[in-house]
């Protein structure tokens, strides 16, 4: 990773990155991922509760990255997408188990738990979510 991270910085994001734990406003029903601690629509009237997302969604837009970020060289070229989850939130994630020419906007995808990057040879290995096409 470009910005070398402390262990606690990584550890505190485990619920979101490993399990897609977000939040939801019980007042208006809007889901938040990454979690928000207050609802921008309902403000003070909002009631925030924990909500784990299903991990199913559709490709909203995508790109094939040829010049990778440091720490991602082994994956290049890789497909990066914004995925619109069924519950509403959109998230940025890699698409795996698919060739670039198989990807299209609107394609159904689901979350997979994967290795994301590593801090060089001796640093932390980062895990989290990627998405793959839903096999019929």
């Amino acid at each position: 990773m470009p910005h070398r991270k402390s262990l606690s910085m990584i550890w505190r994001r485990i619920p979101e990155r490993y399990r897609l734990e977000g939040t939801r406003c019980a007042t208006c029903g809007r889901y938040f991922f990454p979690p928000r601690s207050f609802c921008p629509d309902c403000r003070r009237k909002g009631r925030i509760e924990k909500a784990t997302l299903s991990g199913k969604g559709k490709v909203y837009t995508y790109t094939v990255v040829h010049v990778p970020l440091e720490g991602f060289e082994r994956y290049a070229p890789y497909i990066l997408a914004i995925v619109e989850l069924d519950e509403g939130p959109k998230i940025t994630a890699q698409i795996v188990d698919a060739e670039p020419n198989e990807i299209a906007i609107g394609m159904p995808v689901e979350m997979h738990f994967r290795r994301v990057s590593e801090d060089g040879e001796t640093g932390i290995i980062h895990y989290g979510f990627k998405f793959a096409p839903i096999k019929a």
Partner: protein, 385 residues
């Protein structure tokens, strides 16, 4: 509010300055601006300096003080302003507000970035700091990636093509070929853009703005004192700024930079002008798709029609609205913190009729548009003779 005039402008050559450091580049631009205004250092009451990341590019923070020191203006107040690639535009706005509010009569708005003292991978990481580190960069997003995501969606929704995007780069290079201070003062062809190396599809190398060293400065004055120094003041008649979500994916519609729309409406309302009144504009073309979004979000054309309008030459030099006469970020260069101020330098020179071969005929009203990140900050200024 007091009326505010630009009474002096200056910029360094944009490019790779291996022989110059952060201090020298800033001092060159500031000295040119002070000489252009015909003021002396002791007339200046405050400095607002835009820089995105001196800390990561040259290991130097506390650059507000450094700038005042470098230009020999201690002990006046000097404040660093940061808003990623919009840092310069924000510095201009802070300087404008300080004079408009009656706090000062003469201030400097400067912008500077020294980007080539680190390797390009390092520069890319630093620029990535404008995006959401935890939810975009962690996932493998680079800066071009985010604009590539916008481009792909714009193509899907509006039928925008890679050729139309390439046309933006061709136009801006043609303008830069008439600007001796531009980093790339030469023309390119559509084929050259289309066949350049893929960065993040559909964006190719020549869709992207470069890494640049450079600085720019403008001297702002209240109406009360402006006429003492110049017969050709250029007035700032509107200023607007807005914000949006840091992460691109959090926006309802990623093809619209809502911060640009809001900032433009505020600035145009204050200036009492409409988009069709603008003769010349410097817009934030960090990538070719960004100029297509900008001409839409600034109201020059309807949403979705930017690509076609570029293809038809609507924004070429001396056509409907001359856009990025300096060469834009693409070809004049993009020293991130300097860009927003450089835009004001170009528009001032256009309105004063000093742009030589790239001069826009009858330039009466100009606009600058500076964006931070993938659109989380936008700032728009409107200028008139």
């Amino acid at each position: 509010m007091n009326r505010v005039a630009v009474i002096g402008v200056g910029m360094s050559k944009f490019g790779e300055h291996w022989d110059m450091g952060f201090r020298e580049i800033m001092a060159e631009a500031a000295t040119k601006a002070v000489n252009d205004a015909g003021i002396t250092g002791k007339d200046i009451e405050a400095i607002y300096g835009g820089t995105m990341s001196a800390g990561r590019f040259v290991g130097q923070e506390h650059v507000g003080a450094l700038i005042a020191d470098a230009v020999g203006l201690n002990p006046i107040p000097s404040t660093r302003v940061e808003g990623a690639c919009a840092s310069g535009g924000l510095a201009l706005r802070e300087a404008y507000l300080a004079v408009a509010g009656g706090h000062y009569d003469i201030v400097v708005a400067g912008g500077v970035e020294k980007m080539t003292d680190v390797f390009s991978e390092q520069a890319a990481i630093t620029l990535g700091g404008a995006a959401d580190q935890e939810w975009e960069v962690f996932q493998g997003a680079t800066f071009p990636t985010l604009y590539a995501l916008i481009a792909r969606r714009h193509m899907e929704e509006y039928g925008t093509t890679e050729e139309q995007m390439a046309r933006v780069a061709v136009k801006n290079h043609a303008n830069a070929s008439k600007n001796p201070l531009a980093q790339f003062p030469f023309e390119i062809t559509i084929d050259k853009v289309l066949s350049s190396n893929k960065i993040a599809e559909p964006l190719k190398l020549l869709d992207c703005s470069p890494i640049t060293d450079g600085a720019a400065a403008v001297i702002l004055a209240s109406e009360k004192v402006a006429r003492k120094f110049t017969d050709t003041p250029v007035w700032i008649i509107g200023s607007g700024q807005a914000s949006d979500t840091l992460a691109l994916h959090d926006r309802k519609d990623i093809c619209t930079l809502n911060a640009t729309v809001v900032a433009r409406k505020k600035a145009m309302k204050q200036a009492n002008v409409k988009p069709s009144d603008i003769n010349v504009a410097e817009v934030h073309d960090c990538f070719t798709i960004a100029e297509i979004c900008a001409v839409e979000d600034l109201g020059f054309v309807k949403k979705g029609e930017g690509g076609k309008a570029e293809e038809e030459g609507m924004f070429d030099l001396n056509s409907d609205i001359s856009v990025n006469t300096s060469g834009g970020l693409k070809a004049c260069g993009h020293p991130v913190g300097a860009t927003g101020v450089k835009q004001a330098v170009e528009i001032t020179m256009q309105l004063r009729g000093e742009c030589g071969p790239r001069q826009v005929d009858k330039a009466e009203i100009g606009l600058t548009h500076n964006v931070g990140g993938s659109g989380a900050t936008a700032v728009v200024h409107i200028f008139s003779r």
